[in-house]
């Protein structure tokens, strides 16, 4: 492979990794607070469809991504209510969210399937930076949402690890009883983290329908929500590592396109399996090497009940 195709491959890796990055960083936030949300796939789908519908209707893709974030937030709020206020089972609620989100998205998007998009997010050639050899085309000729995802990942990292609210967030995820004892509202922190997670998943979905595809079709996410959930473990619950991981997973997707267009005699169905198999492989490796102190929030998946202290 020559330099040009490697550059092209890496540029595609970043684009393909962007929806994962949004969703994974959001899920990191939720899980850091102790709430496991397996509904990422559903929230992404609802984000994708609401973003698309609003963009088609208003011809403004910025309003589109606002709507996508709102759509993800609404679904996440249902999950938060069930898991935090009602102390329901987080795994099953997340699955319900995926099923409900899938249904809602295709219900809402029924009349929008395959419509062309006039106002998509187009790649911007950043002056000066975009002209740097090699790095320019890899990093500086993407659409605005790619940069938004990086900015949000950095911002959420900063919030989680450099602010007092972030400290509360992590405390709630590690030891809610202790956090409660020092006056932190466990419920409020968890609600916020879960809802922000939903907004991020919604944005990830919108990236697919407004920049990547860019169109609406049922199951446009194709399991990316689940890959994002796996990415959280790969990232050891750290947004910075999630950036790296997303582009790695995006790279696998980019590679399958590359193999396809290069004319290798491999069935496209086998190529389509690759991202899922790769995810499983990575999950296994990371889990085997994972140590308790590596980041998994101790209270992840458990509802907090004051009376059970």
């Amino acid at each position: 492979m020559d330099l040009n195709s490697i550059v092209a491959l890496l540029a595609v890796a970043i684009v393909a990794g962007t929806p994962l990055l949004f969703a994974a960083v959001g899920e990191v936030m939720a899980e850091r607070s102790g709430i496991l949300n397996l509904g990422v796939e559903g929230m992404m789908l609802v984000g994708a469809v609401t973003g698309f519908i609003v963009t088609v209707t208003t011809e403004n893709h910025w309003l589109g991504i606002l709507a996508a974030a709102a759509g993800g937030a609404v679904l996440a709020a249902i999950h938060a209510f069930i898991c935090i206020t009602l102390k329901g089972n987080q795994v099953v609620s997340g699955l319900a969210l995926t099923i409900f989100g899938t249904g809602t998205a295709s219900f809402l998007g029924k009349n929008y399937v395959g419509l062309p998009l006039t106002n998509r997010f187009n790649p911007i050639d950043i002056p000066v930076l975009g002209d740097i050899p090699v790095l320019g085309p890899i990093l500086f000729r993407h659409d605005a949402m790619v940069y938004l995802s990086i900015v949000l990942a950095l911002a959420l990292w900063y919030i989680m690890f450099r602010t007092s609210w972030g400290l509360s967030l992590r405390a709630v995820g590690e030891n809610p009883a202790a956090a409660d004892a020092v006056g932190i509202s466990v419920s409020r922190v968890r609600y916020l983290a879960t809802i922000i997670g939903g907004m991020m998943a919604g944005l990830g979905g919108a990236y697919l329908s407004l920049a990547y595809a860019p169109t609406w079709q049922e199951s446009i996410t194709a399991g990316r929500g689940w890959i994002a959930v796996a990415l959280v473990i790969f990232a050891l619950w750290n947004p910075l590592r999630a950036i790296l991981g997303s582009y790695l997973f995006g790279g696998v997707e980019a590679l399958t396109f590359r193999i396809q267009t290069a004319g290798f005699q491999i069935s496209p169905f086998f190529l389509s399996m690759l991202p899922y198999l790769f995810t499983i492989l990575v999950l296994v490796i990371v889990t085997i090497r994972l140590r308790q102190e590596a980041g998994v929030p101790a209270a992840l998946g458990f509802p907090y009940d004051r009376e059970e202290r």
């Binding site: 209510f81 099953v92 409900f100 689940w226 796996a230 169905f269 399996m273 499983i280 999950l283």
Partner: protein
């Protein structure tokens, strides 16, 4: 000042256990109603047509049973795993692998006598599903790899595998270009009740339910599975072999889902094709939970969900997207989870002065 408060219950309430699932279904119907009205549809007419489509004639009822069979089996499959808090959400993929194995048996042993052929197909379906369940099971048992994610991801792999076969090496040259594997010989068809599509798979579903009930309630292994589900620490402390139990549970769970795949290709499609399952593997999760993992209740709930699927297909001609079925399913599960708080708590009004 009067305040509503949740107070812990000391005993389980039977009334709540039964009332919550029923109320959940009713509330989900209400949510669907609101969605339909907001989207400009006639909700009453939609529901009337759904009920008509699912129960309106002997044929409609038979079709509801046809859908209830795979739903009952996948519901039973996941309920085994859920008992041990193993989140097998890979029944969909296990079903596809079972269907693949059963179709493979027909390719090589198609001229065997029917009863023998069908038995081998069923065994192959079970084995293939079991292997597909054992992969994430082993990863979980030995290295504690999160089985929720791996079972789900393997669904995609299994479905792509079947697609590969029916688009590629197993494609029937006489199918006019459609991605279908060759039609089975008559010997590989499950016997049906004449005049309907209801096949003998219904007996398999009932038998599996009875068997699971007995195993879970009366055997030592069933006891171990329940204890491990309640508290893995206690199970380990009591000297139970948790690794072995995880492997066995995933084997049984995947195997039942694999048999479902065999039953669908042998009883309904009569060939391997892409859309063997209308998301039965996922719907089975909801059914298992709604039935509170009780095998006999799974059969009953599967019948209701069979009706929902058939009714949902029916109203498509009335312009209602099939997605309404998924929305109703998700909503039922939400309400059920929300209502379950009433199992642990009761609502009281206290006076605060």
């Amino acid at each position: 000042m009067k305040r509503l408060r949740l107070v812990r219950r000391n005993n389980e309430s039977w009334l709540v256990k039964v009332a919550v699932p029923i109320l959940s279904i009713l509330l989900a119907i209400l949510v669907g109603w609101i969605f339909l009205v907001l989207s400009g549809y006639d909700a009453a007419e939609t529901y009337r047509r759904m009920i008509q489509g699912a129960f309106g004639s002997p044929y409609a009822i038979s079709e509801t049973i046809v859908k209830a069979i795979p739903l009952a089996l996948t519901g039973l499959a996941v309920s085994v795993a859920f008992r041990m808090k193993l989140w097998n959400i890979g029944a969909e993929g296990q079903l596809y692998m079972g269907a693949f194995a059963a179709a493979g048996v027909v390719m090589f042993l198609g001229d065997w006598p029917s009863w023998l052929l069908l038995s081998v197909m069923l065994a192959a379906g079970f084995a293939a599903g079991a292997i597909w369940g054992l992969i994430p099971g082993a990863l979980r048992a030995f290295w504690n790899v999160n089985e929720t994610i791996t079972t789900l991801l393997l669904n995609y792999v299994a479905i792509f595998w079947v697609s590969y076969l029916v688009f590629g090496p197993w494609k029937d040259p006489n199918a006019m270009g459609f991605p279908l594997a060759p039609r089975f010989p008559q010997a590989a068809y499950l016997p049906v009740i004449p005049g309907s599509r209801v096949h003998i798979g219904i007996l398999v579903a009932v038998a599996v339910a009875v068997l699971l009930y007995i195993v879970m309630k009366y055997t030592r292994w069933g006891y171990e599975v329940r204890v491990t589900g309640e508290s893995p620490e206690a199970a380990r402390y009591a000297g139970m072999n948790v690794v072995r139990n995880i492997l066995l549970v995933m084997l049984v769970s995947g195997g039942i889902a694999g048999m479902t795949g065999m039953i669908e290709v042998s009883g309904i499609t009569h060939r391997l094709q892409q859309d063997i399952s209308a998301s039965y593997g996922y719907t089975g999760i909801i059914i298992a939970w709604l039935a509170r993992l009780n095998p006999f209740t799974v059969l009953l709930v599967a019948f209701l969900f069979g009706a929902l699927l058939v009714g949902g297909f029916g109203v498509q001609t009335y312009g209602i997207p099939y997605a309404i079925v998924l929305m109703l399913q998700g909503a039922v599960l939400f309400f059920l989870l929300a209502g379950d708080i009433m199992l642990k708590y009761r609502l009281t009004i206290t006076r605060e002065d």
